[in-house]
Structure formats: C-alpha cells, structure tokens
Amino acid sequence: MKGLNAFQTSAFVVSALLLLLAVIGPVLAPYNPVLPDPIARLQSPSAAHWFGTDHLGRDVFSRVLAGARLSVGLAVLVVLASAGIGLCTGLLAGAGGRWVDAALMRLTDAFLAFPELIAALAVAGVLGGGGVEILFALAVVGWMRYARLVRGMTLTTAASDHVALARLSRVSPMRIARDHLTPPVVPAMIVMMTAHLARAILAISGLGFLGFGASPPTPEWGVIMLEARVYILSAPAYALLPGVPIVISALAFNLAGDALRDRIGPKEPG
C-alpha cells in the first residue's frame, strides 16, 4: 500500500498472516497438538520443540499454531457479530427518529457501563463456557462503540436530500439503510473492526486464562497459558511463551488499525 512505512507494512503483513493462520494453523502444526507424550514432559525449548513441551509432553508450538483457530478465528466472529449488532442499532437510532434514538442511546449507555471483561466473564460463566457462549458474551459487550459511531454518522446522512427524496419515493426503510445509510459508515467501521480484533483476541485469551474458555484438551492461547500457569516456577518458558502470539497479534492489529485510521481520517467521535 502507498504511504505506509515499513513498520505499518509489517503490521498489515503480520495481521494477514494471523488471519491465514486461523484457517491453516492446525495443518501447519509439526506435532499432534492434543496427543500426550509422557516421556517428553516439560522440556525446555529446543530445535525439536521450539516452545518446549507441556506437562503432558505435547509440543507447545504445535498447540499454539492449532490454537490460532480458536483465538483468532473466534475473534473474527466476535468482531463481525459486534459490528453487525452495532450497525443495526446505530442505523435504527440514527434514522428512526428522536424517541427511538433516545431510547437506544440510553440502552447503549447502560451496556457501556459494564466493564467489558467483568460482563463477559459473568455472561460466559452463567451460560457455561464454549465457543458459541464466548462469542455471545463478547458480542454482547462489544457492539456499543459501533452503535455510537454508526448513529453519529447516520444522523447526518439521514438528514441529507438524497435520503429525503428516497423516502418521498417510498423506497423501503431496509433499502434506504442498505443503499444510502450503510455505505458512508463502512470505512470508519473497518478501522474500528481492525482495532477491535486486537481487543477481541485479548478478551478471548483472557477468558481462557481465567478458566472460562475452551475446555482443556482443545488448544487455545489463553487456555494453554492457564495450563502452564502451575509450572511458572519450574518451567518459566512454558508459562510465558504461549503468550507471545497473543501480544504479537494484538500489536499487529492495533498498529494496522492506527495506520488505517491515519489513511481514512479521524472520523471516530469522542
């Protein structure tokens, strides 16, 4: 892309690789990520096992690669679901008139009042852990920023002549939302979604680390760290290394989001 420095370019490359990893990660794993090997327990990093082996003798690097599917893949779904809910709420608030707007914005304020991790923990905990439950919990706490962004821009678009004319011509509200109101918010939403990917990866692995993620044999970055936590004194590398991909992906998506915002312009309100 034009106008990006080497740093930003690498952020985009790493982001793209991570998304690719979510699809093909499990295939790339050099060892079986879930098969225990009692002889090779808690080995230090070596040429054979780059991140060492875990308490069951499984190759940690393989588990990290395979874990990308849940950690990154689920984050993508969380972002898409949040953006979808936020888009619908924002369009409705921005184009639905004063009372709908006031009601929806108070509701958005109420959802925003819950700290993200605490609310997600409570929802995921009450529902019981699992991919769908985590997706639901994180979408429930993640849609509000999109709603505010879309609502702000839609208030402007909805007051424009072309929307007034479309309404006069009895174009259906759905079609107006799709053809007139949604296109202007797409660039800003993409910026927001990129940054949200970073937060979603942190949240998913956080839930996993706190014990509310995928159930143990399934590899997921936070869950791997949860399993390793017990061995922090005896095998510090095992306790730390699975967190590196989390930091790298959050960093990459953050930087990519910043770079996109610089290009598209600061349209994000407050």
């Binding site: 002549d161 072309h162 004319l165 479309a166 006069l168 011509s169 174009v171 202007p184």
Partner: protein, 277 residues
Amino acid sequence: MVTAPLLALKGLGVSVRSATGRLTTILHRTSLEVGKSEIVAIIGPSGGGKSTLLKAILGIIPFTQGSMAFKNATIRRPLDASHRSLRKASEAVFQNPIAALNPYATLRATLSEPLLSMGVAPADRDTLVEMTAKRMGLRPGVLDRRPAAVSLGEAQRACIARALAPKPALLLLDEPLSALDALVAADVANLLTEVIGETRPTVLFVSHDMRLVRRLATRLIVVEAGRIVEDGPASRLLDAPQSAAARELIDSDRRRRARFVVEGHAPRRDPKTRAIV
C-alpha cells in the same frame, strides 16, 4: 377556480424549536389553492420561507399549524394517511444535485429507485430510466457512473429525470437551475419546459431565475418573511409587480443578468471539494 383544487393549504404553518429552546415561526399560517396542471412559481428573498413551504408540503419538514387537502382528502397531521397519498403522487428536485444524489450509487440505481417502489417491472424500469435520461440530455454512458464522476449539469439532469420518470401528479422544484452555469441552465430549462408540457403535472417551483419563471409559470406567488405577499397570474405580476419584494426581485434579476453577460461569471463547481463556488 371551478373544479376542486388538487392541493389546498389551509393555514399551514411551520414553527421550529432552536437549540436554545426558542420557538421560531418560519412559515406563518399560509393558505393557497393550486389546481390541476397549474404551474406555480414561488419567488421571494432568500430565507423567506420558500423552501420551507415546499418541504412542509412534502412532509420533509413537519408542519405545526393548519392542515392541507390533497384531492379533497384532508391532511391533518404530518405523514398521516392522506399526506402519504400526497407524497406517493409527488416527486421533487432540489437545488444542490450533489446532495440530492446518493454518492454511493450509480445514477441508474438512483433513477430506478422511485420506479422500484412503484412496482414497475425490471425491464420496463430500465427502458423508462434510459428513455427519461435521454430525454433530459444525458449521454448513455453517464448512467453507470457515480455522482462524483459526472458534471454538475449531468447530476441535475439526472435529478430531474429521476423526478419525471414516474410521471408524478405533483412536481416540486426547489431552485432547480441555480447550481448550473448559464448555458447548461438554459438547456435544462428548455428540456424541463418541454417535458412538463407533455406530461402536464401540477408544478410548484421556487426560482430566482426570472427567465425560467417567465417561460414556465402560469401563476406567481411572492413569499417574504414566511408569508405570501402577492399571488396572481405570472404574466401580469412579472410586468407589474405590486409588492416591494417582487419589484426588488424582478429588478435585481434583470441587473444580475446584465452583469453576467459583461463579466461572463457563472457559478461553477470547485474541482477538489465539488462544492459550488
């Protein structure tokens, strides 16, 4: 008028509450009867309430006092059933074609919109869109472009074609030529006059362009400070205006036109911002 009017305003008024909470009346109780196929020009100083009048009739700005009647059905509240039937029979053209076109849709998509909601079959829709666009002087290729890629004149021709294609019974035009340079404006005025002559809709139009008023209007209304101050046949009013506002407008238009010729200055669009300068 012998037959019942197509549209009647009965003490229609618009008040808006400003950000500070003060209530301002921008259109005072206005009464007006417009017959079928009448072509009414509305003139008056800027900010006098001409556009508000059109937008209140269309329901884009909600009216706060009085009522209207359309085809004898009384419109008591904005956007009630009778008002919806008025809106169904109406199309409009606004001053700034760039704001009036969806920047993300091709002209073809925008022109198809009204026909789509009328339930015109896709094949007929395309034919009608292309025919009307051609009638308004748009080259065929232009239809598949977005507003950013067409000239201001082409954009306004598209807006007018969009309003005319569904053959509305009521056509409201808000300064349809003011964004265009003189040559294009003259051409568009010609086409507009021709097409209106063919389909014979009832027209209410706001304009500063006295040449357009003279060519098109059968009746002239002068609006000043939110009130109708003069109303009569266009031919008589243009030559012998009674109110000071009308006299001033007609004279200044004459002076401006003279200056146009001398300086050759016409409004045009800034190539970068696409704003009208």
